[in-house]
């Protein structure tokens, strides 16, 4: 990568405890995030994208989670830091935007206070200065009448306004990295467009990098510079956004793109990905994890121990099965052929 | 397997049935060591109490014997005698039986009333719910204990049945409120809407769709209430406003402790009854808490 990496994720593994055993929800993930770029993590629920984001922030409950590997942020390994050392980075260097703006805000605190709280520990400002900065921030994230909203409680604001407040909290100290976990999923489509515009604008103005976590390929197409497609805890494809949408290679990426109805063009039939994402404790730990869902591709076409390989500069794909992949003509629908239980 | 399953006769015999949630609850209960222990202890106590009371003559026990006033435990009187020379052990057995039976009766009566009222108010909502809730809110702010005592004092022909009715008149409200809240929540779920669009009548929806989903909550609530009701009954009897004197309760034995001399020097009169109440209530509560955890775990599963 020509850009200087801001965050280097190296062989990250995040495991959760289920009935006494640990299962990796994020398995051997390596990624780099450069300065001022938007990297999207895409995948269906349970693919590990949120678990990855929370581990960067150190937000997993330590007693039930194991995080291994290395998270090199501006030269420090975040995983080696104590909580109080991490607190100097959280909120200041890295901000986070959550999915549901209603639950992400403390119902008993005014909006102003919640934004100021993120400055309390990172900036040496007087009360008046903090208030001034907060109101400027509210204005900047597009909230009308910021002086009034400053004294409001979250429940008095609409969903879109709340999400703007959550964003204001995250960028209060102008962080170098912003992690946005499904920032528009809970919002209506017109509000989603506004929030996407706002994030893009802030990224350009503040020179922030964004890790965007989403299942919505439309949002990815609009926002991302580079994209990591995740399936069952692994990255299966990693390339710039244009490549992912115009020259995807991995069967999962290709299937996903084929299965989504588009408002721009009309498809007669949608592609159906067979089967389901297996639950965490039933994931195959060996071989290609996508193999069960493309059963018409012979087992010999998969690698026994698939690795993420750079197939062309900046374009990484896992497993060799992509070389043999094709869409079957008969998309049997109805009848028993339709996805076994 | 698959071929067989298509034949109508094969189905049902071949296919393993999934365990019902109630049997899951039972399994959880048995796996909880404290709860299992409590269940065993409680069963033993109840077997002894109900078994022995078959052979004990209540008339004989409550007969005053002035030759054996306040005699300490002996071979003849296992737990000594009280101020009237009556056998404490016999009274303990009869008292425990009465306390438990009456506690159970109150629990069941209030359970049925609470269930009906709660289901109706929660399911139909609107003005029905409004009126019922006003009544419940009113009863809940009444000074319960004092009113029960007043009622007990002024009811003309006072007996066990009136006591049960007086208690039930106050105690159904909590359950009705709980069931109503849960029914209200269930009613909003789409499976109820689905049943309506499928043409299922309301009474069937209430009984066969909603009620099964409340069963674990009801069981937990009734269990914890059973303990509470035994406590309230014996407490009132202790104060002298519970069961009439002709029906001894565990509270009757404890109430002898209002005499400081008995409390201080004649421990055998009041302490065994106190401990028996305590043990029974602890056992029932431990079972109830285990059921509660089991019910929660089921919710986390589904």
């Amino acid at each position: 990568m020509e850009k200087q990496p801001l965050l280097e994720i190296d062989r990250l593994r995040v495991s959760f405890q289920i009935d006494g055993d640990y299962y990796a929800a994020v398995d051997d993930v390596s990624l780099t995030i450069g300065e001022n770029e938007v990297v999207a993590l895409v995948g269906e629920s349970g693919c590990g994208k949120s678990a990855l984001a929370l581990s960067i922030m150190g937000l997993h409950p330590p007693e039930k989670t194991k995080v291994e590997g290395c998270l090199q942020f501006k030269g420090t390994n975040l995983l080696s830091l104590s909580v109080s050392e991490l607190n100097r980075i959280r909120g200041k260097e890295i901000g986070m935007v959550f999915q549901d703006p209603l639950t992400a805000l403390n119902p008993l605190m005014t909006v102003g206070r919640q934004i100021e709280e993120s400055m309390d520990y990172h900036l040496r400002l007087s009360g008046a200065e903090k208030k001034k900065r907060t109101i400027r921030l509210l204005e900047r994230v597009g909230i009308p009448e910021p002086e009034k909203v400053y004294h409001r409680y979250p429940h008095e604001l609409s969903g879109g306004m709340r999400q703007r407040v959550v964003i204001a909290i995250a960028v209060a100290c102008e962080p170098a990295l912003l992690i946005a976990d499904e920032p528009t999923t809970a919002l209506d489509v017109t509000i989603q467009a506004q929030i996407m515009g706002l994030l893009k604008e802030l990224q350009q103005q503040m020179k922030t990098s964004i890790i965007l976590i989403t299942h919505d390929l439309g949002v990815v197409a609009e926002m991302a510079d580079r994209v990591a497609v995740m399936y069952a805890g692994e990255i299966v494809e990693w390339a710039d956004v244009d490549t992912i949408f115009h020259r995807p290679l991995h069967p999962y990426t290709r299937s996903l793109l084929q299965s989504i109805p588009s408002a721009q063009t009309k498809k007669e039939r949608l592609h159906v990905i067979q089967g389901i994402v297996p639950p965490l404790h039933k994931l195959p730990r060996r071989g290609c994890r996508f193999q069960p869902r493309i059963s018409w591709i012979g087992a010999d076409k998969h690698e026994p121990d698939p690795k993420l390989r750079e197939v062309e500069p900046g374009h990484w794909v896992r497993c060799t099965c992509y070389q043999h992949f094709y869409f079957p003509d008969d998309q049997t629908v109805g009848g028993v052929g339709y996805g076994a239980s | 397997m698959k071929l067989e399953a298509n034949g109508p006769t094969a189905v049902g015999t071949n296919v393993e049935k999934s365990p019902s949630p109630l049997s899951i609850m039972w399994r959880e209960l048995v796996h909880d060591r404290l709860a299992l222990g409590s269940l065993i202890v409680l069963t033993i106590i109840l077997l002894i109490v109900y078994g022995a009371s078959l052979f004990l003559d209540q008339e004989e026990i409550v007969k005053v014997d002035f030759l054996a006033i306040h005699s300490p435990p002996s071979a003849e009187h296992w737990l000594g005698t009280d101020y009237g020379g009556r056998d404490v052990f016999g009274q303990l057995i009869i008292g425990a039986r009465n306390s438990f039976t009456i506690g159970l009766a109150i629990t069941l009566i209030t359970g049925v009333i609470g269930l009906i009222v709660g289901l109706v108010a929660g399911y139909f909502g609107g003005w029905v719910d409004n009126i019922i809730m006003r009544i419940i809110d009113f009863i809940l702010v009444l000074p319960f204990l004092m009113l029960v005592i007043v009622f007990v004092a002024i009811v003309p022909k006072y007996n066990v049945l009136t006591f049960i009715l007086i208690m039930s008149a106050f105690l159904w409200t909590g359950k009705a409120r709980l069931i109503r809240a849960k029914t209200l929540a269930e009613r909003e779920l789409d499976y109820v809407s689905a049943s309506k669009t499928l043409g299922t009548p309301d009474w069937k929806i209430i009984l066969f769709q909603i009620l099964p989903n409340l069963s674990s909550i009801i069981i937990v609530n009734l269990t914890l209430n059973l303990a509470g009701n035994i406590g309230i009954e014996s407490g009132l009897t202790y104060l002298g406003f519970g069961l009439p004197e002709s029906t001894p309760s565990l509270g009757t034995l404890v109430s002898y402790a209002t005499n400081p001399d008995v409390l201080q020097n004649k421990w055998w009169v009041w302490l065994p009854a106190s401990l028996l109440i305590l043990v029974m209530m602890l056992c029932i509560n431990f079972i109830g808490q285990a059921l509660k955890r089991a019910a929660d775990a089921r919710q986390r599963l589904s």
Partner: protein, 322 residues
């Protein structure tokens, strides 16, 4: 806020009315009326005078007129006459109410002094031995009936060990107003208050614990951590403040429990308060006192629930708007 309180008081009026009607009817159903007191003082009254007095007292009036008169008198502080004590009920209560209020306040304060630290420890460090101990205590406390616990406490600490007095609210020898007097009062208060609080507190512990456990996984706590807020501030500002909400809401309802509890505690510890007076009066069939006490308890409960709602609306901004 003011509007909310006013509306809330408005809702209370029909409840108050129903309560007074219920108690009035109960009073009518009780054997004996305002004359019973007079009769006791002067048993040799002839039927003629009795009838005259009945007429004079309005006992022959229609029920609703009697009810209105009863309410009017009550509002003027006239609760009738106690025939056993031969003095106005109001005076009788005035002498006792201080003790009950003192006992209830002590129980309430101890309840929170015990519940808050234990609930926090148990909710914050779940599954530690401290938590298991606290949960164990709360289960046992929840199962134990107050009167049994109080009796056993009296048996052990009052009689057996002799650490505390076994009855009364103050030594008779000490002079009122002296330091010794207050110390003696405190000494008499300790055992009943502790017995009440140790049982009363477990419900609050359980609530606080489960609230903290629920709150600490909420999204806004994650937001706070993502801001870099240190752990102790996370607990104080975000988790505990939100967890205290239901506890605050219960404060008023505690009064209901305290009234019931005081009947048991005052009876067991021979503590001269309203609860004890209530039991004595009902046994002596002194019904004007009984009626007054039930009415007062009912009003206290209503005021308690009112207080609850006001406290809740004061701490929770979401309710203020409604």
């Amino acid at each position: 806020m003011l509007k909310f309180i006013l509306r809330r008081i408005l809702i209370m009026i029909p409840q108050l009315f129903l309560l007074s009607v219920l108690i009035f009817l109960l009073a009518k159903a009780m054997p004996g009326d305002a004359l019973t007191g007079q009769l006791a003082a002067n048993p040799k009254m002839d039927p003629q005078t009795l009838e005259e007095m009945k007429e004079k007292l309005g006992l022959n009036d229609p029920v609703h007129i009697q009810y209105i008169r009863w309410v009017k008198n009550m509002l003027h502080g006239d609760l009738g006459l106690s025939y056993t004590h031969q003095q106005p009920v109001t005076d009788l209560l005035a002498g006792r109410v201080g003790n009950t209020v003192l006992l209830s306040a002590a129980i309430l304060i101890l309840t929170y002094l015990i519940a808050i630290p234990l609930g926090i420890v148990s909710g914050r460090w779940t599954d530690t031995w401290a938590d298991k101990l606290i949960v164990g205590y709360s289960y046992i406390g929840y199962a134990t009936p107050l009167f049994i616990f109080a009796l056993i406490m009296l048996f052990i600490f009052g009689f057996h060990l002799g650490w505390f007095p076994t009855g009364g609210s103050v030594d008779i020898q000490v002079e009122e107003g002296t330091l010794a007097y207050y110390l003696s009062k405190l000494n008499h208060l300790m055992l009943p208050a502790l017995s009440g609080a140790l049982i009363n507190t477990v419900v609050t512990i359980q609530y606080l614990r489960s609230e903290i456990i629920d709150t600490k996984v909420k999204d806004f706590v994650k937001t706070a951590r993502a801001k870099g807020v240190p752990e102790r501030h996370i607990y104080w500002r975000h988790i505990l403040r939100n967890s205290f909400l239901p506890i605050a809401a219960f404060l008023g309802y505690e009064i209901t429990g305290l009234i019931g509890g005081s009947v048991f505690l005052e009876s067991i510890y021979s503590y001269p308060g309203l609860g004890q007076l209530f039991l004595q009066s009902i046994m002596q069939r002194d019904y004007s006192v009984v009626t007054a006490l039930v009415m007062i308890s009912g009003v206290a409960t209503l005021v308690g629930t009112l207080l609850s709602d006001i406290i809740l609306s004061a701490v929770d901004p979401r309710i203020r708007i409604e």
